[in-house]
């Protein structure tokens, strides 16, 4: 049977049984507010660094939750800590604190 090349690109399917979201859980413990995110995207729309780089707190949170840490971090790397995202978040999530915690975790290696 022809396979039509469906397997040329790697699967992006997430297997929740094997995915390791320990980083997410750690950040959640430090900043419990992140569990109330409604993925509205306000944080991304207001992001200062977002004008220059691919930055998305919303998406990073989602990726962390499913254990895709590297991809998540890539979306936060350029954060300038300006705090606009915190000020606009309709859920009052301390996004900036969550980002600091992630950065610390990574910088400590």
């Amino acid at each position: 049977m022809n396979r039509f090349g469906y397997r040329l690109s790697p699967s992006s399917q997430i297997d929740l049984d094997v995915s390791d979201n320990s980083l997410f859980r750690e950040i959640l413990a430090g900043e419990p507010g992140i569990s109330t995110c409604i993925a509205c995207g306000s944080c991304v729309a207001s992001c200062s660094a977002g004008v220059f780089d691919k930055i998305s707190f919303r998406k990073a949170l989602h990726l962390l939750e499913v254990g895709m840490d590297t991809e998540a971090v890539a979306l936060l790397e350029g954060c300038m800590m300006c705090g606009k995202c915190t000020l606009v978040c309709p859920r009052g999530i301390n996004t900036r604190h969550a980002i600091v915690l992630i950065k610390r975790k990574l910088n400590k290696g």
Partner: protein, 597 residues
């Protein structure tokens, strides 16, 4: 006056002498350790300072701060009297005690316990004016110390008397030291009074001696009381290193280092260590701290942060993260401990060299139109465009040519990153912005955000470029007659943003503007004492609800005199107040733009 005890020794001196030897050893080792921790450069600074004329200023500062406590006097007269009477009075007792020994029993000079127990060892042979004079002085200073101790005891039970809402909680070491400190002077009084019949005394000791003589034989009480006096002194000296009274010797050290130009470079270097130990736990910073409006959060105030650091207990990171960095505690601290700096250094230690890079910065090409005035809005003013729109109206009216540096998006000024502890990344932003500003050829950098203002003034190397905040600039335009405003019938109160007032010393300009625009009313806490709006980017972990509580407390101080409108000069303060304030909130630029003719 002559000696009455052979060999000038009595076993009761042992507890005190042991305590004294212990504390001398402890302080020498501690002092040596702190100096050893300093870098070679810092040691040089210390050495240079010690052998320069500036050392006299250090002596003066030590007397003013450690003995007379003038700074606490400025805060609160009764609290100041309490500290000064104990410290200065005690010092004088020791000092005059030594003079007495020098005059009457010079052969005992250098015997550790002799000046302290002088009156036990001597007997009065005949009246002299000089002798009476010294006895009078000793009694006088003892009385002064006792009055201070009296207030201290009263304060422990009722802090309101000295004008404080809260006092610090005590630990075991503190308790031993505190209770022995309370006991030392009354015991000294009784000990000297009981022997006053033999050694002589003055108005205080002689009187008590006579009173006691009416119903008890003083002689039988002499030994026990001198023993008790020596024991409490010993207990105090042994408890000293484990108590907050360690601040007494450490503060001297701190002043010496500070005046040498040494500053903390890590949260626990030699300088930081002496700052940590210099905290007297006076608790002034508890009342000063906006976080303490929620009483559970008073545990995050500076005094408790310093205490955690001192005892090397866990949780100091949480404390460092909570602080708003509003600087109110630093402003009010009588020891001038820069606890904000210590906390930022603590945050910095969490971000090591192996950091995430801001790779995109090199790709950004900002082209700014040439003009003398360059305006930078920064991230925060981009959230409140009403501020820059008003400012532009004013600039246009005055005929000022300007260009807008971050019209198409800001590269942050770097201060939020610095506050989060990531100085590495902050430096990258600073360098990028610096290049843009220099390339623009501007002579004036105009800012509307105090957060930016502070960092541009302190961290940017901008030769020949004046950094101004819009309050300064608008005031200048008004004074030069380039714009004019109508005085309205409205009354205003001005909120001093932390980074503009305390942080950068701008207090007058906004007030001058508002007095031209209407009636300016006072807030209950203003200028250097202004309450943080609650929005500060300094805090990493305060949540929204806690921040709202702080905002409400700040509003209460601002509306004390019931003004019509709240005016501020910071986009973040504006944003924090706007939704919670029941009355109108405006930036100073808006007021001027509205009332401009």
């Amino acid at each position: 006056m002559r000696e009455r005890i052979v060999f000038a020794f009595d076993p009761f001196v042992i507890p005190f002498t042991l305590g004294m030897v212990f504390i001398i050893l402890y302080l020498s080792v501690g002092g040596f350790k702190i100096i050893a921790k300093l870098s070679a450069e810092e040691k040089m600074k210390l050495l240079k300072h010690t052998f320069s004329f500036a050392i006299f200023k250090t002596f003066r500062d030590i007397i003013v701060d450690c003995l007379l406590h003038l700074k606490i006097f400025k805060r609160n007269i009764r609290l100041g009297y309490m500290h000064a009477s104990i410290a200065f009075g005690w010092f004088m007792l020791i000092f005059i005690g030594h003079i007495e020994v020098m005059l009457y029993t010079p052969q005992r000079l250098g015997v550790l316990y002799y000046p302290v127990f002088f009156r036990y060892f001597v007997m009065k042979t005949h009246e002299t004016l000089r002798g009476d004079f010294f006895f009078f002085l000793m009694d006088l200073f003892l009385l002064i110390v006792l009055s201070g101790v009296g207030i201290a005891i009263y304060k422990r039970f009722r802090s309101a008397i000295v004008g404080m809402k809260r006092t610090t909680k005590l630990r075991t070491g503190d308790k031993i030291a505190l209770y022995s400190l309370w006991l030392i002077f009354p015991l000294r009084l009784f000990a000297e009074s009981f022997t006053a019949g033999i050694s002589g005394g003055s108005f205080l000791t002689i009187t008590i001696n006579r009173v006691f003589n009416t119903f008890a034989t003083n002689e039988s009480l002499i030994q026990p009381v001198w023993w008790a006096y020596s024991l409490t002194l010993g207990a105090f000296l042994f408890a000293l290193p484990f108590s907050r009274y360690m601040h007494i010797p450490t503060e001297i050290f701190l002043i010496w280092m500070r005046n040498s130009g040494i500053r903390a470079t890590s949260s626990r270097d030699g300088y930081a260590e002496s700052e940590i130990y210099s905290c007297s736990s006076c608790g002034i910073c508890i009342d000063a701290c906006p976080m303490a409006v929620k009483s559970e959060n008073s545990k995050f105030t500076s005094v408790y942060y310093l205490r955690l650091m001192r005892r090397r207990l866990p949780g100091s990171m949480n404390h460092a993260d909570k602080c708003l960095m509003c600087g109110r505690c630093v402003e009010m601290c009588p020891v001038e401990i820069d606890s904000c700096k210590l906390k930022v250094l603590k945050r910095e230690e969490e971000i090591s060299e192996k950091r995430l890079r801001m790779a995109y910065l090199s790709e950004i090409h900002t082209n700014v139109n040439k003009s003398d005035v360059l305006y930078y809005a920064g991230c925060m003013t981009h959230l409140t465009p009403v501020i820059y729109n008003s400012l532009f109206k004013i600039l246009q009216k005055s005929g000022t040519q300007f260009s807008f540096m971050d019209k198409d998006g800001s590269i942050c000024c770097g201060r939020p990153l610095m506050l989060s502890g990531d100085t590495y990344s902050a430096k990258e932003l600073i360098e990028k912005n610096r290049q843009t500003i220099i390339n623009s050829g501007a002579k004036t950098l105009l800012l509307s955000c105090p957060i930016c203002y502070k960092v541009f003034r302190e961290e940017y190397d901008l030769p020949g470029i004046e950094v101004v905040h819009h309050t300064e600039y608008i005031n200048r335009l008004l004074n030069e007659g380039k714009i004019a405003i109508n005085k309205s019938g409205k009354s205003f109160v001005f909120h001093d943003p932390c980074d503009l007032g305390r942080g950068s010393g701008i207090f007058e300009q906004p007030r001058e503007i508002l007095m031209k625009a209407g009636e300016l009313r006072f807030a209950s806490e203003e200028r250097g004492k202004s309450h943080c709006c609650g929005g500060s980017l300094g805090s990493l972990s305060l949540d929204k609800e806690e921040r709202n509580g702080i905002t409400k407390a700040a509003l209460a101080t601002l509306f004390e005199n019931n003004p019509d409108e709240l005016v501020t000069a910071c986009p973040l303060c504006y944003k924090s107040f706007k939704n919670i304030n029941g009355k109108p909130t405006a930036d100073i630029a808006q007021i001027v733009a509205e009332q401009m003719v």
